[in-house]
């Protein structure tokens, strides 16, 4: 489940292991960060 998340309140980078909770501020809303890969798609 580990991945790059960002806390919605303190904007810190967060790794999720067991609980969905920011270890710095305790906020429970986390955003999944967009990967660095370039996305190619068809405009349809």
């Amino acid at each position: 489940m580990a991945g790059a998340y960002k806390c919605a309140r303190c904007k810190q980078k967060v790794e999720i292991d067991v609980n969905v909770r920011c270890p710095y501020c305790g906020h429970r809303i986390l955003f999944k960060e967009r990967g660095a890969a370039i996305k190619e798609l068809k405009a349809r």
């Binding site: 967009r34 996305k39 190619e40 798609l41 405009a43 349809r44």
Partner: protein
């Protein structure tokens, strides 16, 4: 065949064709919609998108933006010597980079070739709030509306039969049909009902006037009759801005001609007679 234009400019045309059949009129309509090529965004490379829209939704919206097309400068990818890799002859690159808070408009798409800019500047693509960002590259290619609606050069494109309104001597000018007509094409003038000058083409053939006439108790047959002319058609064509309407009509007719020529040639090959020989006979 007689063609009369009632109006034509870059974005819309209205004309009537006399002395033809419904299948031919429909063939012309279909050719204008589906066989005249235009540019439209096909491939999108998204570097960053933190907007509220998914990448796919954003790509879909980009594809539908009409792009000004010079058909003498571009050729379809399948006919290009680059074999679909993408070159200056068959594709146009666009870049878009906007940071919020802002509305992303079609004018923010910066084309590599200034002739192939979006036809309309103010088409909203996505609204960005603070810290949201869209960075992407897009590639527009030439194709026809038969493949996908985004390549259609037309918005409204249709035809209807030319209306014939006949008012018999039994008309007592009661004015019921005038009141009923939703298009306002009838008027009581000099003791009888007539069609307003120049408004006959507005008739939608709804026949509400016939019914209103019957309801007055005039008898079994109404005094006003609406028929459609089976050999005369009114066309309304509106372009989306990618091509001038004049060119859409011309290209569609050229397409029909080339298809007919090809058929002639094939029939000649099968029967062993060429088109030229037939003409000489």
């Amino acid at each position: 065949m007689e063609i009369v234009f009632s109006s034509i400019n870059d974005s819309a045309a209205r004309f009537s064709i006399t002395g033809t059949s419904q299948p031919f009129a429909n063939a012309l309509r279909r050719a204008m919609i589906g066989e005249v090529p235009t540019l439209a965004i096909e491939d999108v490379r998204i570097y960053d998108n933190t907007s509220a829209l998914f990448d796919e939704m954003l790509g879909h919206r980009l594809g539908l933006i009409p792009i000004r097309t010079d058909l003498d400068c571009y050729i379809p990818q399948e006919k290009c010597s680059c074999e679909g890799a993408g070159c200056d002859r068959c594709s146009v690159m666009f870049t878009l980079s906007v940071e919020g808070p802002a509305m992303v408009y079609s004018r923010d798409l910066i084309p590599q070739d200034p002739r192939a800019a979006p036809a309309v500047d103010g088409i909203p693509i996505v609204k960005l709030t603070k810290d949201q960002k869209v960075v992407l590259e897009a590639r527009a290619v030439l194709n026809s509306g038969r493949v996908h609606a985004k390549w259609q050069p037309t918005t409204t494109c249709g035809f209807k039969n030319y209306p014939i309104v006949e008012i018999s001597d039994r008309c007592d000018a009661c004015g019921q049909c005038v009141e009923e007509c939703p298009r306002g094409i009838l008027v009581v003038k000099g003791g009888r009902v007539t069609v307003v000058e120049g408004r006959l083409e507005e008739c939608s053939l709804c026949r509400l006037c016939e019914r209103a006439c019957l309801n007055t108790g005039i008898g079994e047959e109404p005094a006003i009759r609406v028929r459609s002319d089976d050999s005369r058609f009114i066309f309304v064509v509106e372009g989306d801005g990618s091509l001038p309407v004049r060119e859409i009509v011309q290209r569609a007719l050229l397409y029909l001609k080339s298809q007919s020529d090809e058929l002639c040639e094939k029939i000649g090959e099968v029967s062993g007679v060429t088109g030229d020989e037939e003409e000489n006979e």
